[in-house]
């Protein structure tokens, strides 16, 4: 327990006191602190000296398009820009509407402090990244435009949300839930073409585009599959239970790379000739089936956490088994399972790097291909560090988002604030 000072000290004195307590409480602590400070300082100066001195960042600058979209045909890249604009618009709308809805702990403030920070970060990234990558003026302009679109729609939606009545507000939130799947379908059409647009074969997709496609496809489809498997595993029907157990344990027992190997080499034999999907889709399906087994375990723990009385109460209200599941059990189970599910999604995003081992050119595969080019031979540090920062940023953001959502869904918190 931290001892509290009896008299309020000046901020500087309080800081000094805290530092002394945290870093130099005993001679041993002081020694550890000094040694650690030396090690951290040495490592930091070494890294900075390398990053601003010896490192040659041209490899990132000159290949930025390759890292972003792979070999996607130049003439068709406007489709990806359009998709990005739609995405920014939808994100701005959702953000603004969600924030403006009055909730017990926040009376629908338009710009809470956390959002101001997020806006600042978005503006800084949208201006700094294209400049640092020395992209052409027109592309810099597009980035700035995307950021402006996002923030403008967020502001508009926020204002609109404040003006709506509670009933209209809940209607707006419900239509948001339809907006995103629709956007996903439009996005797939924009990326792959087919109806009215020139086809871009999946072998030309690459870089960040392929990474995000694989991850989002697997996350979306593994969810219903995982919930079904978890319900199967907890079912009273022996056949369903044992089937689910067999599937979950088999998939969880094997390394992902052997399953990808199975997908690439065996799927062609399992389906009639010509029906086997392209390599990219084989990998996507393997990722989906793999993630479903892990997700099922997360959901199962959530289901186990729902008290038995909840089911009995639902029954006594006259709800049928399906209605009980849909309105009583699953909402509670998924809320409990949320943190674990998000960490499964984060590791799924990380697992997409394994596709580089079976020859697909997602981010890491693109990096390997770039460094096979004699012009960039030996630039491992620059490329791998950039990818590490990128993945770290995405995964940390997902983790923080999940923590915020968890806090928001926590019934104890909502109840006490009311």
């Amino acid at each position: 327990m931290a001892p509290s000072s009896p008299t309020p000290a000046s901020p500087a004195a309080a800081l000094a006191g805290r530092l002394r307590r945290d870093l130099f409480a005993t001679p041993t602590d002081g020694l550890i602190t000094l040694v650690l400070l030396g090690v951290i300082g040495g490592a930091l100066t070494g890294l900075l000296r390398w990053a601003f001195g010896r490192a040659d960042w041209a490899v990132i600058r000159l290949n930025s398009t390759l890292f972003a979209v792979g070999r996607y045909p130049l003439a068709q890249q406007w489709r990806l820009w359009l998709l990005l604009a739609l995405f920014c618009g939808a994100a701005g709308l959702s953000w603004g509407l969600l924030r403006s809805q009055p909730r017990p702990d926040r009376q629908g403030r338009l710009w809470p402090p956390a959002d101001r920070w997020a806006c600042g970060l978005i503006v800084a990234l949208a201006l700094w990244t294209p400049w640092a990558l020395e992209l052409s003026a027109s592309i810099q302009l597009r980035w700035a435009g995307l950021a402006a679109l996002l923030l403008a729609l967020r502001w508009l939606a926020g204002r609109l949300g404040q003006a709506l009545s509670p009933r209209q507000g809940s209607w707006a939130l419900r239509s948001l839930a339809l907006l995103w799947p629709a956007l996903y379908l439009i996005g797939m059409e924009l990326i792959s073409g087919g109806i009215g647009l020139a086809r871009v074969p999946s072998s030309d997709w690459g870089g960040l585009l392929l990474t995000l496609l694989q991850a989002s496809f697997a996350i979306l489809l593994c969810f219903p599959l995982g919930v079904a498997l978890a319900l199967g595993r907890r079912s009273d029907l022996p056949l369903l239970r044992w089937g689910s157990v067999l599937y979950i344990e088999f998939v969880r027992g094997a390394p992902l790379i052997t399953l990808l190997f199975l997908g690439q080499n065996i799927l062609g034999f399992l389906l009639p000739g010509g029906l086997a999907p392209e390599r990219v889709w084989r990998a996507a399906w393997v990722l989906t089936f793999f993630a479903a087994a892990y997700l099922a375990e997360a959901v199962r723990s959530g289901l186990a956490a729902v008290p038995k009385g909840q089911r009995e109460a639902a029954r006594s209200l006259g709800l049928g088994p399906l209605q009980t599941l849909r309105h009583v059990v699953l909402p509670q189970a998924l809320r409990v399972a949320l943190p674990v599910m998000v960490s499964q999604f984060i590791s799924l995003l990380q697992d997409t790097t394994l596709l580089s081992l079976i020859g697909l050119l997602e981010l890491l595969g693109t990096a390997r291909a770039v460094m096979a080019n004699p012009a960039f031979l030996g630039d491992y540090g620059e490329v791998y560090l950039t990818l590490a920062v990128l993945f770290w940023g995405c995964c940390t953001a997902l983790g923080l988002g999940s923590r915020a959502l968890e806090h928001r869904l926590d019934p104890r918190h909502t109840a006490s604030a009311r």
Binding site: D22, L23, A25, T26, D29, I32, T33, L36, L37, I40, D236, L237, P238, L239, L240, G243, G253, A254, P255, L256, I257, T258, F261, L262, N265, I266, G268, F269, L270, L271, P272, G273, I346, Q350, D351, T353, L354, S356, L357, L364, Y380, G381, Y384, L385, L387, A388, F391, W392, C395, T396, G399
Partner: protein, 331 residues
Amino acid sequence: MALPQTPAVIPWWRNRRLLPWLLQAAVALVVLLVVAFLLGNLIRNLTAAGLLLTWRWLGQPAGFNIGESTIPFDAALPYWRALLAGLANTLRAVVCGLIGATLLGTMAGMANFSSNGLLRGLVRGYVEVVRNIPLLLQLVFWYFVVFLALPNGAAALQLPGLTLAKSGLYLAGFGPGWEWAGPTLVNGVWQAPLRLSVEFGALLCGLVVYSGAYIAEVVRAGIAAVPEGQWEAASSLGLGWLASVRHVVLPQALRVIVPGLNTQYISLAKNSSLAVAVGYPDLYAVAETTLNQTGRAVEMVILLLAAYLVLDLLISAVMNGLNRLVQIRER
């Protein structure tokens, strides 16, 4: 209130006793049909390609060499010996990785309870950074950025009893005549009783640092689960910090830690299959080469899945035994 009259005969689609069986029968039928369809295709396609299931090719000479091997191997030996050598390499990496990750993870997990704020912050930072970067990226980072950048010859990095060079990691140990010997430079080439390849070194560092972060979280959770009063009781008995940990806290924390460790150990064993990215010839790498030479995809997948399944079960069995040892014995 008048209840509607219950019909004398319940229609079959609302029969609570019949429905489960109908549902199960339908699921079983669908699964059987799908499996029959897939197996039929498999047999037809394999026959057409002349690759029907057989294990005779395992006896043919492999014809490729393995960069480093825990058991003796050369290209004239049959495929099954190559796969065995790969398995031995996997086992070596897994065993070394388990030991290293447990040591690092335990120290990092305990450091969370240090009175030194900087040390706590450093450990939190380590866990947050390592867990949010893909393992494969970390492995290639260790290999290409750290180990392949090591200098060679006299410029090699020298620590007491250990030399790090691009040509390998040289450790002090007992020489052929059981005398203690350190790494020595002979004609510009390092020699030592124990030489590890940089591929093995990179794989080991990657696995230890990655799994260490997860184990640190398991250990932290385990220690945090021990009530504060236990620490206070231990210190009121006059026990020092180390004695409190050793006799009071750790035995209780282990009950929470061991099941978590089991999960982490199994994922370390599975993650060792990423060795192929840094050129360490583990089971998966050898299997990939074998497939490229023989085209025996189905057999290779069966062997790989069986090998990793047995490895998982082995780790699980050992850890479950350990778990029984540390649980509270109730009367």
